[in-house]
């Protein structure tokens, strides 16, 4: 627990799992969950480098901004997904490639 590489390895695995979710899931909400995992792994990296880089607090501020961006992104993405569901009656991301209705 007192080594930077441990945290970086956890972050790598979390990022890979998130990426796997983004590229293999068909449901729009599940793709969003993958994006959240990726953002969490990025935050873990920021905080790990802040902790082992002499407790540099700029990392904490950046992590805070990432959380703000994730909240805004989740709200807008879910609004878009609900709109897609109302128009196409599905949120399967492969079936909504048309631009016209």
């Amino acid at each position: 627990m007192d080594s930077l590489t441990n945290y970086l390895f956890v972050s790598v695995i979390l990022f890979s799992l998130g990426l796997f979710g983004v590229i293999t899931r068909r449901n729009g909400v599940a793709v969003l969950m993958g994006v959240e995992l990726i953002l969490n792994s990025a935050n873990l990296n920021f905080l790990a480098f802040a902790r082992f880089g002499g407790m540099n607090m700029a990392g904490h501020v950046f992590a805070l901004f990432v959380i703000v961006l994730a909240a805004a992104e989740a709200a807008v993405a879910l609004a878009i997904i609900i709109n897609i569901f109302n128009n196409f009656h599905t949120i399967n991301v492969d079936d909504v490639s048309e631009l016209k209705q």
Partner: protein, 162 residues
């Protein structure tokens, strides 16, 4: 003891993340995401980031996860008991992601990271507040504008057309 707890927390985080991307049921994915967020919160505590850990619980667990569950409930018929979702191109996806993970792991393993000696701070909130109000004032204000934009945008998008 702390070492043992650390690995338990890592296990919870990664196991739940694995469930998120592998589960057949969309609701189970959402619940696994809850435990993954809580595990990441535990890792933040190990990294001495107490304020960020609390923000993570409040925003991710209390906000984003609820939004995601709302999204699931609003885009499926409640009467259909198993809200299933499938994956495509699992083989190619696994190969690509394993390649990516190997590359990143190799990079982490081979880079000579410099670890500075440091002591656990008594408090982090004071330093974060000072940085937000002095060094990062412009990004802070831009973030508030972005949140306002996202709020108005999400409301406009999800409203029924007149």
């Amino acid at each position: 003891m702390a070492e043992f707890t650390f690995w338990i927390v890592v296990g919870i985080t990664l196991g739940s993340a694995f469930m998120v991307v592998m589960s057949k049921n969309l609701l189970y994915s959402a619940y696994a995401l809850l435990f993954s967020f809580i595990g990441v919160t535990g890792l933040y505590v190990f990294l001495w980031a107490d304020f960020i850990a609390v923000v993570q619980v409040v925003v991710y667990v209390g906000g984003i996860l609820i939004l995601i569950i709302f999204g699931i409930m609003l885009t499926n018929k409640i009467t259909s008991v198993n809200i299933s979702h499938t994956s495509v191109q699992k083989g190619v996806g696994t190969l690509a992601v394993l390649g990516m993970a190997t590359l990143l792991g190799f990079m982490v393993f081979n880079t000579p990271w410099i670890e500075l000696a440091n002591v656990e701070p008594a408090e982090t909130t004071a330093a974060i507040g000072r940085l937000l109000m002095m060094d990062y004032l412009l990004p802070f204000e831009v973030a508030s504008l972005l949140l306002l934009g996202a709020l108005i945008g999400a409301t406009t998008l999800s409203r029924k057309e007149d």
